[in-house]
């Protein structure tokens, strides 16, 4: 191990922890947004579904960096509230990834065989029960791979938070680099860390898919 990495290991550890924390909170919130938006659009709730479609369209056409800057600078200026870089990044990652997740989940919901829904209704379940017990579990389980793909994307995206001075892995690495100036070593090292984290999540996703995917 190189001495620079060892001497600053607690910086990298704290950064990695923050990266994982931001990713985890954003994944939870983003998934919640994704499920709700996907359901609203799946059910074609009159006006709300239109608004959700607009939101998804907007997020899919916007770069993450601009969404981040928007949440950090523009939204607080417009709505007159104070935010921290940390929560602004969590907010932007959640709404950004939520839009992409909702598209994946919606395609999963739509792939559920209509006969299953009819069978559920025929056996006396209410429509809400059919949604909760049949459509959602089957629909979501068919789209595990793209959902995990979005999670991996999100983890990589968290590096962008360093631009608004969030102290996550990339941010801390840049700070260390500013002090000792060993860019090749430090960037190579955090690239490796991201690689390991992303591959671990992908592996977990593959296991999840093998365990839970709907076999047809």
């Amino acid at each position: 191990m190189h001495s620079v990495l060892v001497a600053n290991s607690h910086f990298f550890a704290a950064g990695l922890l923050a990266t994982l924390q931001i990713s985890a909170i954003s994944i939870v919130c983003g998934t919640a947004i994704g499920v709700v938006v996907a359901l609203l659009r799946y059910l074609r709730v009159p006006v709300v579904a239109r608004i959700c479609a607009l939101y998804v369209e907007l997020m899919q056409g916007a770069p993450l960096l601009v969404v981040l800057l928007f949440c950090y600078f523009a939204l607080p200026a417009l709505l007159a509230y104070k935010t921290s870089a940390y929560w602004a990044s969590v907010l932007s990652f959640s709404i950004f990834i939520g839009a992409y997740l909702s598209e994946d989940i919606r395609s999963g919901l739509r792939s559920v065989n209509p006969k299953l829904i009819q069978a559920g209704l025929a056996s006396g379940l209410t429509y809400l029960q059919v949604l909760r017990l049949i459509v959602l579990p089957i629909g979501v389980r068919t789209v595990i791979p793209p959902i995990i793909g979005q999670y991996v994307r999100l983890i990589k995206f968290t590096s962008v938070a360093s631009i608004i001075n969030v102290q996550e892995l990339t941010g801390n690495a840049l700070l260390v680099n500013a002090r000792v100036f060993e860019p090749a070593l430090i960037l190579g090292f955090i690239a490796l860390v991201y690689l390991v984290v992303c591959q671990a999540v992908s592996l977990f996703g593959r296991w999840l898919n093998a365990r839970f995917a709907v076999r047809t």
Binding site: L58, Q60, G61, A62, P63, L64, L65, V66, V67, L69, F70, F73, A74, L75, A77, L78, V152, K156, F157, S159, V160, S162, I163, T170, L174, N177, P183, A184, L187, G188, I190, A191, Y194, L195, C198, Q199
Partner: protein
């Protein structure tokens, strides 16, 4: 004066995105083809390369070219182009590989059996069919690339996001500036999507035309 900033930023974004798009496509097609049809060693290398490139955030790619390889003394625009091209090429390669593997194996074998060389088989038989199938996923990779190009602003490439920051500093019209930036990206992405959608439509029409012609010929022969 503000208009000049916006226009120059927009042009830089278009330049950066279009150059990277071409480079990423070329690189991605080569890597994807190696990953699908190359000899075993090359195939493993291509797969590993794609996994490696995709697992590292684009921002880190940018910093690696800009800071870690600073001894090359590349201008920021070139660094951003290289980072964006290499990063996106991994996604293009995945799409191309999946497209080639999705093609019935008989197609390439028939080409080889007719005495075409490996390269001719790819060029005349495999690529035209693969291109039609992968255009939609390619379109989403391309619009991703355009959006990702905003990260170049971090290494001081004066693209539209960078100019938005400058404009915000000049005018303090934060909300207007960032809304405008969002809209400009939306416009750019939807233009590219529209163009590729037209391409998809045209290729579908031509293939439908071809298959219609073929079936009528079969009817005549029968």
């Amino acid at each position: 004066m503000h208009r000049d900033l916006i226009v120059s930023g927009f042009i830089t974004t278009v330049e950066l995105a279009s150059i990277s798009l071409i480079l990423a496509t070329m690189l991605g097609v080569v890597i994807g083809t190696c990953g699908a049809t190359g000899p075993r060693g090359l195939r493993v290398f291509a797969l590993g390369w794609v996994e490696l490139i995709r697992s590292i955030p684009l921002l880190i790619h940018m910093y690696i070219w800009y800071m870690a390889l600073a001894m090359l003394k590349l201008p920021a625009f070139v660094c951003a182009t290289l980072a964006l091209s290499i990063y996106s090429s991994a996604y293009v390669a995945e799409v191309v590989r999946a497209g080639i593997l999705g093609l019935p194996a008989g197609q390439a074998k028939a080409g080889l059996a007719c005495g075409l060389t490996q390269f001719q088989t790819l060029r005349l038989i495999v690529y035209p069919q693969v291109l039609r199938r992968i255009l939609p996923s390619l379109a989403s990779v391309f619009s991703q690339l355009i959006k990702d190009s905003s990260l170049a602003s971090v290494i001081a490439v004066a693209d539209i996001t960078y100019q938005a920051g400058a404009l915000d500093g000049l005018t303090f019209r934060t909300f207007e500036v960032y809304t405008m930036t969002l809209v400009l990206y939306l416009v750019l992405v939807s233009i590219v999507n529209r163009l590729l959608g037209m391409l998809v439509g045209a290729s579908l029409r031509s293939s439908a035309h071809a298959s219609a012609a073929k079936s009528s010929k079969e009817l005549r022969d029968a």
